[in-house]
Amino acid sequence: MTGALAVTLASTALAAAATFAWLRARRANARTRGRLAAASEELERLEQAFARFAPMELVERVIARGIATSGERKEVTVLFADLVGFTPLSESVDPATLVRILNGYFERMSRAITAHQGHISTLIGDGILALFGALEANPWQTNDAARAALAMRGELAAYNAELAQEGLPKLALGIGLHRGSGIAGLVGSPELMQFTVVGTVVSVAARVQGLTRAHGVDVLLTSAVHAALDPRFVLRALPPAALKGISEPVSTFALLSE
């Protein structure tokens, strides 16, 4: 009798232990499923966020197979923008105000660029490197870049009015535009990668931006841009000028309006 009771008790205890273990495993599975679902949602959100900085196809490839070095030759229009006289400004205001001014500037410029199908590749100090036709095929990339430059001019004028109301100094902008072939891809180290374009097309745009001061204008474009540009844009031809690293003097045009 005692033996039978012991067997029953032992069986019950075993059954209870098994049920407990099963319930615990079920709870753990549910927790794992929940975490996986949350991670998957987070991945989807990250994927969407990264698609603003690199082609979606590339983002998916990176997620699926990891970062691989590959590039593609593309016809792109490059916009290089820089603040004129930024160094004296940076010495005349306190750091917090300077950062606030800069962030407001970047926000407005970013809006003007993305509204015209461009994407910001890099911020270099107060400089902006923006690309048109790099993320996706865009037969209207040059007109888009010129319109973005005009929109940046308009945004800066509005921003300067706000800064003036606060008694802060005005900002001045120089923009260089160039069109040509470059290598588009993920560039950088494993810790810091960015989707960008490399090649002469970028350096020419940067140097043309540098010419804006010499010519006393805010937006300058090269003859390669001029050739692809809608003739309804109003331009003023400027005398050819020597650019560092370019053997022949480069003809440029000031972009006045559309």
Binding site: A37, S40, E41, L43, E44, R45, E47, Q48, P55, M56, E57, L135, E136, A137, N138, P139, W140, N143, D230, P231, R232
Partner: protein, 368 residues
């Protein structure tokens, strides 16, 4: 879980609807006879009858003869999600529920079908659908190779492309004018749909069989008109007849000029670098008397002094429909109402959506 399921596109910004709804009992009866119900989007488009008719004509009236009935709805879900069309996404989730897919599986599909128990053959089809819809990079004949490798036959590939392009069409229509998504977004999770799923599934199967029988009995017509190349490529599939009917109706409508519509087709073809669609649009515009050099200039710069104000406005608008995100599309559509009447806007949206459908099908035309 239900809340999480409804949130897949919850972050997508969506403007107030650009159009006012207007009931039309005759059109609603036509739509009900094909869909079994009148989708909440229909009253927003009734001012231009061909646009309303196109939805069932290109959809249930053009049944896919070679594909498993679940696949087109799976394609609908991934394409609508990719295009951030909250309205179509809600509809597709409901359709997948009617197919009997559990919440967990639908959720996995929304998450990119990484682990969605999708067989490799279906996965190849869904990858193709996303690529064709996204058009970045641009579609190429090489996109068909993974499909062939996965065992899809040429007629099946044509229907896969059509199912994708049809979903792009519906996405553009609903997104551009910001059709309110609230009536459909939570439909899949409603108790009524859950209870009625077996009945809805039965009715869907019956309707599909009837449409297939009708389509099979329809005599093959010789292809004609600017898009004859495409109708020929789809020959034998009900989609060919549906496209012909819709393209004819769109061109015959007098709300916008034929030339304005041709320009919309031409811009989308230029943006997607689709040679057959571009040639068709050029031919149509040539019939309208537009000189090739004027067309080339208009397409290069999306504007020309030789075109009128409405035509110039439509060029930029059409360009925005190629890959635009909902907010951008909706803001452009609203801005267009300064120049266009609501009827003209509806027709412009319908034509642009049709141009996106037709142009994406270039990939299945031989000789691409």
């Amino acid at each position: 879980m239900l809340t999480a399921m409804a949130s897949a596109l919850a972050d997508v910004e969506w403007e107030a609807c650009v159009l006012e709804p207007r009931r039309d009992r005759e059109l609603e009866a036509f739509v009900r006879s094909r869909f079994g119900a009148v989708p909440s989007a229909v009253p927003y488009f009734t001012r231009v009858p061909w646009v309303v008719r196109s939805m069932p004509v290109l959809g249930p009236d053009a049944p896919l003869l070679t594909l498993d009935s679940l696949l087109p709805d799976l394609i609908g879900l991934v394409v609508s999600q990719d295009n951030s069309c909250r309205y179509c996404f809600g509809v597709q989730r409901m359709l997948l529920r009617v197919h009997g897919l559990p919440d967990s599986r639908i959720r996995k599909l929304e998450q990119g079908f990484i682990d969605a128990e999708i067989e490799p053959r279906f996965r190849a089809a869904l990858d193709f659908a996303r690529r064709l819809s996204r058009a970045s990079p641009l579609s190429a004949a090489s996109d068909l190779t993974p499909l062939r490798d996965a065992g899809w036959s040429p007629p099946e590939i044509r229907e896969l492309a059509y199912a994708t392009a049809f979903n792009v069409y519906m996405n553009r229509m609903m997104t551009t004018v910001a059709i309110p998504y609230a009536p459909v977004e939570s439909l899949a999770d409603s108790w009524l749909i859950r209870v009625m799923t077996p009945l809805l599934r039965y009715l869907n199967v019956r309707r599909a069989r009837k449409a297939q029988a009708l389509a099979s009995a329809r005599p093959t017509e010789p292809a004609r008109g600017p898009w004859a190349y495409l109708l020929d490529a789809l020959s034998g599939a009900p989609a060919s007849h549906a496209l012909r009917e819709t393209l004819d109706a769109a061109l015959e409508s007098s709300v916008l000029s034929r030339r304005a519509k041709g320009l919309v087709f031409a811009v989308v073809a230029r943006g997607l670098e689709a040679p057959h669609a571009a040639a068709a649009a050029s031919a149509l515009l040539g019939e309208c008397g537009l000189a090739p050099e004027v067309l080339e200039s208009a397409l290069t710069h999306l504007g020309s002094s030789e075109l009128n104000g409405v035509e110039n406005a439509l060029l930029s608008f059409a360009r925005g429909t190629i890959r635009g995100r909902p907010m951008q599309l909706q803001q452009r559509a609203r801005a267009l109402l300064d120049r266009l009447s609501p009827e003209q806007l509806i027709e412009a949206v319908g034509v642009a959506a049709l141009a996106n459908l037709v142009t994406r099908l270039d990939v299945v035309v031989p000789g691409r």
